[in-house]
Amino acid sequence: MSSEPRARRTSASVIASSPKPSETHPTEVPAAAPATKPVEKRPFLLDFFPLETPDQTRLHRFYERLREGRLSTTRCPRDGELHWPPRTACPTCRTEELEWVDLPEHGHVYAFSAVLVGAPLGMEAEVPFAVGLVDLDGVPLRLFGRIEGRPWTELRVGEPVRTEAYDIGDGRMFYRFRTTD
């Protein structure tokens, strides 16, 4: 598995580019992983998941690429800085001409915990669930996310995990981690 961010298909402009499905991309899955359970439609102000469509966000390609099974982010072509979360302007040189790169599929848990009580609205039925910070292999990025797979009682720091794109159940996509065994 590649340990470098893949930048085979980059775009000069975050805004103008359109998604182009790949047939060979290593992180691609045949279809988006099924949602854990259908997410009921909630008013925007009670919904943690973002609005993902081009009429709402300049970063819609992030979600379009997630639907292709690719977790990606932006990189500044001038200074090489890899961002998280993806951006529309580089925080260092401020250029708005950023390129998309895929992130490594594998990583290791830096720290984790679990939500046993006190979940936000809409997540109560998912309790208990594990969350953690994951160092992605080969890139200087540590992402926070849900950890699926083995229960939190069986996780450990250093645990290998892989990234996973999933359909949240109402047509939107998000990402999470999954234990590798």
Partner: protein, 394 residues
């Protein structure tokens, strides 16, 4: 310091807890108490009002809260009216703005009110409000709220330094014991031994219920003025001698080391440097113990002990009465509860009352001169520090 000297010359805290009262009613309550506690205060000389309120839009479905608060208080500010939002540090943010306004000469007498109404019929809605403090579209969908984040801090601290659950419980036991002396504290009447704390249910592993501050309703208020007017109000003003803040990141991807809070070190260095003192000069500190592990990391980041030794510092009682300095004599966020906007103001009230020797003897720091107040906000990504010096009778 540049500008005019500024002091807190009076203050008051409502009962903290699960209150049968609305946001506006809490403001009325703290206003009535403030005018009783500071009889020299005249409403028509309050030229400015600063309202520390973290999430009234979420918790009380209310925006434009500064004029609403002014009306509840019976004030008609004519110089500066504003609401300050900095999540868990909103109260201190409001004090800092009032301080700047008075130091600059724009304001002469300012009232700061901190308030939060957090207990809702649906606590899932309240938990969602807490989740909005994070980078909501990225970290929020995973279920990021404060407990799992600070649990990861505890996990790393245990892993890197061997910190134990017993050491976490030592922090919580101390602060709950102080809260037993504070009638305004949410847990004033509940006692927590270390053994009892270690048997409470796990909230976010490795943190147990007693390691976490609670969802709390409450308000606090202080009066600030310049050296020209301070003696009209009190013989023991709490002079603001230093201020510092540092914002290091927001998205959790940029948290870096979870156990080394360099932002606090920088904010404290700025505040102490402006005051012209060192950490060893402090007699008491009100620090942001939103979780027991927070106070342990704060000991280290403030330089009260070397990195990694905060757990031992707690277990050895060095932040207790009779220790190196007294940390969180008010009862902390663990013992008092944590109404987001009110906490920073209530800490300042404690400093004023410690300086004027009006707290119960069980938590009175002997003859204090210097105090530090710290708030973190969010995922400890922002640190805010103020340093106070006790004024002596003229």
């Amino acid at each position: 310091m540049s500008g005019r000297p500024v002091a807190i010359v009076g203050g008051v805290t409502t009962k903290f807890g699960v209150r049968s009262a609305t946001w506006s009613e809490l403001v009325q309550e703290v206003g009535a108490a403030l005018f009783r506690a500071v009889p020299e205060l005249r409403a028509d000389e309050v030229d400015s009002l600063f309202v520390g309120a973290a999430e009234p839009e979420r918790f009380a479905f209310q925006s434009h809260v500064a004029p609403l608060a002014a009306e509840q208080l019976g004030l008609k500010p004519y110089r500066i009216l504003q609401r300050n939002e900095l999540a868990c540090a909103s109260g201190q943010s409001a004090i800092r703005s009032a301080y700047a306004a008075i130091a600059s000469g724009l304001s002469d007498v300012a009232v700061v009110v901190g308030v939060e109404k957090m207990n809702l019929p649906s606590m899932a809605e309240a938990n969602s409000a807490m989740g909005c403090v994070m980078d909501r579209p990225w970290d929020g969908p995973a279920g990021a709220t404060a407990p799992p984040f600070f649990a990861m801090v505890a996990q790393r601290h245990m892993l890197e330094f061997g910190t134990t659950a017993e050491q976490l419980a030592a922090v919580s036991e101390k602060n709950h014991r102080f809260a037993n002396t504070n009638p305004t504290a949410q847990f004033h009447e509940k006692t927590f031994s270390r053994d009892k704390l270690l048997r409470l249910p796990i909230i976010a592993p490795p943190l147990r219920l007693g390691d976490c501050s609670s969802m709390t309703d409450g308000a606090a208020a202080v009066v600030l003025t310049s050296d020209e007017h301070a003696r009209q109000f009190t013989d023991s003003p709490a002079w603001i001698r230093g201020s510092g803040q540092f914002s290091g990141f927001h998205n959790l991807a940029h948290a870096g080391s979870l156990t080394e809070w360099t932002g606090l070190t920088r904010a404290a260095r700025e505040a102490l440097g402006r005051a012209g003192i060192g950490i060893g000069d402090l007699d008491l500190a009100e620090v942001h113990d939103c979780f027991s592990i927070s106070e342990i990391v704060e000991y280290e980041a403030l330089g009260l002990c070397p990195p990694g030794e905060g757990g031992r510092f707690a277990a050895d009682g060095r932040g207790d009465i009779g220790g190196d300095l007294v940390v969180n004599p008010r009862g902390g966020l663990l013992g008092c509860g944590h109404p987001l906007g009110a906490t920073g103001v209530a800490q300042a009230v404690e400093v004023f009352q410690q300086f004027s020797s009006t707290v119960p003897a069980a938590r009175q720091v002997p003859d204090p001169e210097w105090a530090l107040v710290h708030n973190l906000s969010g995922s400890a990504n922002v640190h805010s520090v103020m340093v106070y010096q006790r004024g002596r009778a003229a």
